[in-house]
């Protein structure tokens, strides 16, 4: 798994639960080092070991840790770059959902060796979507549940997002748009200079 992905999991644990929990997670997972490097590639089993170790230490289910990771990627101030790149997906939340299939390709423009999950978007109607996610990381669908809920808030959309189990070698997430102008949402400008960048 790409260092950037592992590093974002590390930052999520550090920013949410503190440096001591990250240090304990790294020990518990038997990493043999105390920090992931962004530009190195690591064996996928290490990523799994980190998630499992964090779940044990926090006494929470693996699924809920992964869901919080998804929320963190969109809503934490230390992950603003991710939120911005996701907002490039479209003007509306529905556009954004459609653009998810393009996401791995877009990411590869920047990092040719990044292994983002592969998505398949199915629109049953203008308000009902299914997202099939495929990744070596078991539970990737739960990351998407957290991420899609946070993105709905970001767009000011009221939606129902649920993990619907496994299908065709992937995990299925169902999205139902209840109201597309629920709240103001957060402002997004294509030009970065238009917003305060931390």
């Amino acid at each position: 798994m790409h260092g950037l992905i592992n590093r974002s999991i590390q930052c999520f644990l550090r920013d949410t639960y503190g440096a001591a929990i990250w240090a304990a997670t790294a020990r518990e997972a038997g990493l043999g080092f105390d920090s992931f490097e962004t530009m190195l590639t690591y064996d996928a089993t290490l990523t799994d070991a980190v998630i499992d170790a964090a779940a044990r230490l926090l006494n929470r289910s693996r699924d809920s840790v992964l869901e919080d990771l998804g929320t963190y990627l969109v809503s934490h101030r230390n992950a603003q770059a991710v939120r911005r790149l996701l907002r490039f997906g479209g003007v509306t939340y529905a556009d954004f959902l459609h653009s998810l299939e393009d996401l791995p390709g877009r990411a590869r423009l920047a990092l040719p060796d990044i292994d983002l999950p592969v998505f398949e978007v199915v629109d049953h109607s203008p308000t009902e979507f299914a997202l099939i996610c495929r990744s070596p990381l078991a539970g990737i669908g739960h990351v998407l549940v957290g991420l899609l809920r946070a993105m709905a808030d970001d767009y000011g959309v009221l939606s129902l997002v649920e993990h619907r189990g496994l299908c065709e070698g992937g995990e299925v997430v169902a999205i139902i748009l209840a109201e597309t102008a629920f709240s103001e949402g957060r402002r997004f400008d294509l030009a970065r200079s238009a917003v305060a960048v931390g």
Partner: protein
Amino acid sequence: MERRVPPVCLESAALGVLMPMHVVLDPAGRIIACGQTMQKLFGQRSLPGADFFALFDLRRPSGLTGMASLRSRVGQRIYLIARDLPTTGLRGVALPLAGNQGMVLNLSFGIGLIDAVGEHDLTDADFAPTDLAIELLYVVEAKSAVMQELKDLNLRLHGAKVAAEEQALTDTLTGLRNRRALDLALQRALHGGGSFALMHLDLDFFKAVNDTLGHAAGDHVLRCVAEVLSGETRQSDTVARVGGDEFVILLPGLADPTRLMVIAQRIVLRLSEPILYEGRDCVISASIGLAVSSSYEAPTADEMFNDADQALYAAKHAGRGCVRLHAPPITSNMP
């Protein structure tokens, strides 16, 4: 007063300059004309005359199976693929022609641009003069070159960091020298030919501190011990932490057992004082075994370490907080 703008009419060839990947459909969904890049994707197979919906799979929004449904999505982004070119994802937008004479669709490669350029052998001339596709290719290529450089640099720095850590001579917890530094210093002392002493020190009751007050307390104790050892020795001595609660001090130029015993006993005395940690006393003590180079005909590192260790064992056996000097061979010149 509002001025009415007449419909814009363009020859198909002119439209092709603006949009080299457009497709013009008649009201029945048959292709009437297309741009030259669109035609290039299909090679010998001529597009005009073909049924658009047979040639293309309109994947999203769902339900786009004919002209009526396409009309209901006017102006919206559409995701589609040509059935014969499944690896080339396309996106497009459809607009009605004036007078209800059919529709025009403009297509592009979207994110698949880079792969498409390779697969279909596209050149600058295949894109509209206003298209930023070539700029995008340029940015990606320039960025990849820079990225490769950074990646190589990153690997070099990472390798250097690992090597530096291996070669480091310091014990990171206490700031004392580590085993490696001690070995180097001992080699120097042995080769230098002068006399010297080895002091092997082991803490008593340290495990109890760790177990009852936690690792943070244990770490604090080790740092305090390091301060005492540094304070009670000379600048030229090497004070090393060689194990969890094990220390070795190399004292060059010092072979007088009496003086060594005085130093060792002073250290033992200092370390018998309780160490305060977060309002609680940590009580430890230290046992020391000594070996002196002048006890040997030709001292070796292994032999001296071993003998200092034996002396330490004897000190521990004699009760905590004791000092023992390795008993020299029979031909001893000890007083």
